[in-house]
Symmetry: C2
Subunit: 446 residues, 2 copies
């Protein structure tokens, strides 16, 4: 890993060049590098914690001066229970995942002795912009090397000392491996994000990990493709045939399990025929967890006799708002088609759910809703790479191309076509006199 | 199909809304629409040819006034041998391809009664900007409907009368099918491209089909992801162990089979050890086809005794130029590593080839070259969706995400995750006391 005070352009150029070497390394060579990083971090523990203590000291001063929030300081602290060990374990977990490089996904015999093969390969250079959590840097370096991609890392400034110490350890570890040192570049100079975002000739994919403001800023200021999501505005449609106890349990989990997460519920769409039957027990269960309901007039009227609720009149904006706290918008709809139309127009296309006993309606909903996750009778909180069994999560994408939903290592891959011939030329083939037809014979992928 | 004189924003909004219906239609419903389009065009033949004649008349006047090139007029002419019949056949060919919608590519049991499925689905709304060839509109409408995507079409103004007549026939045909009329929007108002490129809230993917200037303009002026390639700068590395006759044949085909194509050869990299043995016969074979060679000093010296060559001193810029005619740059390199470095820095990452008898060097080259097509002993001209057996070609992409190389219907698809549960909530699962682990059991794909 290089610690760069060089210009962003030089860092990106070096990363590109390293990516061409990294792409040719064997799985063993990449895995060995992850073992070396793990061991190097273990050996450098004291230095890293000393650096982290300096970050924490500066942060404490900034909090005292009212320039930083206490919650950010908590995220900086590497000594927080489990954080350091989880970081180390995460590197080995990524190492032990199946190799994503070199998977053959298509094999076609164009003619005898002329075989086409589609093979997965790294994208090239990733730009990863993240906030102040210091353990993220090791996690990202592991993901990049495992997937054969070079990476340029730009972290939040409050963790600079920790980042430098961690990346020194990673750099020293990589020196003993086949992974070129330039493959992971830490950019520590300030205010370089606009410059980095202009380097689309070197950088193939940008992955912002942080607030929706950060993601939105990056999407709006680069030609580099961006993988991620700005908002998580998830809806659940409560259909009249849903089981009441199941509905209450799933909605409570979706809303209250971790309200600040992008896969938490923000809007409940209630079928009018379910207002008097299903909504009251659901509302009571939510109230018991301290949830404020922003109701439209119909749902408010349906709840007038339920004691202990915290109801506020909803505004139109509430039905497309990411609250990220214990607030839930409640809107009445007359049919599945209305629910789908509201979701397709107002959700962030992250994860949306239908609660119903009808398989037919559920399948209609899952077919018609244009979101990365479409759920039937399950909490929106399941939208997560670890929960999906991907082993690791690069992020969650609401994009409509490349990768969508929780993204694992597969999302960091593209493919190339390899054609192996014996001197064949295009003029031999095609239609017309004296031309040969193509065989186009599907071959097993092995 | 709607003929829009409405604003681009209204056209895009209507396409988005139609895309949500189109995404839920069965394969039969989409295929029936293609049959209807085919039959409608057959029935409207006379009207369409009359409209095309009006386009041709205006074009002839423009040529006479020196405002248009004769080659463009030839592209406008629907009566040109085979064009009309090929257009009709193309619609039925696309109809008969395997359905790309609803393919299950992952199934995981998260827990008993909680099954995750990844299913291919349309991207949504495509913006397709193309030049004046009038038959392209039917081809694109067929691709869009087959893949379940809505499309906004903006064609070159010289074919406006033909486009309007063809789209009237398509529109009348679609009225009798389940495909909503708004699914295909033809925008005929002028100068609307900048407005269309700003509509990233409605348009999911832009596909420019035309000159590299058009592609570059679009890539530089939109936040919508763009599928395509601006340049086709393809290289071949001639290694010392290559068979001389094979090398000459492949290089001649790559350069001269259709010099204006994006998959034609623009640069030949010759290993120094092959200068006196392989280059002379290759150069003679190229000269026999009228190819001008732009040589570096070493290759020029190696060819000084070969009669009948057309040699010009190369400039540095020649080694990264798309000539699109019978010109070939020839550069000497000392090793495979040098060849790979030159290609990775100067090719357009479209298709690059090695000519060698060494399997080991070939595999090294194909692993290290960062291009969508990497070939061993085969003409670069094979880089084409039809030749690869994809049935149809949307375009060729040099992007590093989503789709790369020749793109068939698969390149117009994304996926969604469907999760079918029985009321499971996230709080039940994970590590810690009383929590259940996830099963993460791989299920067969059907």
């Amino acid at each position: 890993m290089s610690l760069t005070n060089a210009s962003p352009a030089d860092a990106a150029k070096a990363a590109k060049s390293a990516s061409h070497v990294l792409a040719t390394l064997s799985a063993d060579a990449r895995n060995d590098a992850l073992t070396a990083i793990h061991d190097g971090l273990v050996a450098a523990r004291d230095d890293i914690f000393a650096a982290n203590a300096r970050d924490l000291e500066l942060a404490a001063e900034a909090v005292a001066a009212g320039k930083l929030s206490q919650s950010l300081v908590a995220r900086l602290d590497l000594a927080k229970k489990g954080k350091w060990d989880d970081m180390l374990k995460g590197i080995l977990d990524v190492r032990d995942l199946e190799d994503p490089v070199g998977r053959v996904t298509l094999r076609t015999r164009l003619d005898n002795g002329l075989d086409l093969e589609r093979v997965s390969c790294p994208i090239g250079v990733l730009l990863i912009i993240f906030e102040a959590r210091p353990e993220v840097i090791a996690n990202i370096a592991a993901l990049a090397i495992k997937s054969g991609n070079a990476a340029i890392l730009k972290g939040g400034k409050e963790s600079t000392e920790s980042f430098v110490a961690i990346s020194r350890a990673i750099s020293a570890a990589l020196d003993k491996t086949q992974v070129p040192n330039g493959a992971i570049q830490l950019v520590t100079t300030r205010d370089v994000i606009p410059e980095l975002l202009a380097l689309d000739q070197y950088i193939d994919l940008a992955i912002p990990r942080g607030s929706s403001d950060l993601v939105r800023y990056i999407k709006n200021n680069t030609r580099i493709p961006v993988l991620g999501h700005a908002d998580g505005i998830c809806f659940t449609y409560l259909e009249q045939s849903a089981d009441p106890a199941m509905a209450a349990e799933v909605i409570v989990d979706s809303k209250t399990n971790y309200p600040a997460a992008c896969n938490s519920l923000e809007g409940l769409l209630v079928q009018d025929a379910a207002l008097s039957t299903l909504l009251p027990p659901v509302a009571a269960a939510l109230a018991a967890k301290g949830v404020e309901l922003r109701c439209d007039p119909q749902s408010k009227a349906a709840l007038k006799d339920v004691p202990g609720l915290n109801i506020v009149d909803a505004t139109e904006a509430d039905f497309s708002t990411e609250f990220l706290n214990l607030t839930l918008a409640v809107k009445t709809v007359s049919s599945l088609a209305d629910a789908v139309a509201h979701i397709n127009a107002n959700s962030s296309h992250h994860t949306d759910c239908i609660l119903t006993s009808s398989k037919e309606l559920a399948e209609q909903f899952m077919s018609a809703v244009d979101s990365s996750g479409v759920y039937w009778n399950a909490s929106t909180r399941f939208a997560d790479g670890t929960r999906y069994g991907f082993g690791t999560e690069v992020g969650i994408s609401t994009n409509k191309i490349h990768s969508r939903g929780p993204v694992g290592l597969e999302g960091l891959m593209i493919y190339k076509y390899k054609l192996r011939g014996h001197g064949q030329v295009s003029a031999t083939y095609g239609e017309g006199a004296g031309r040969k037809p193509y065989l186009h014979q599907k071959l097993p992928l092995e």
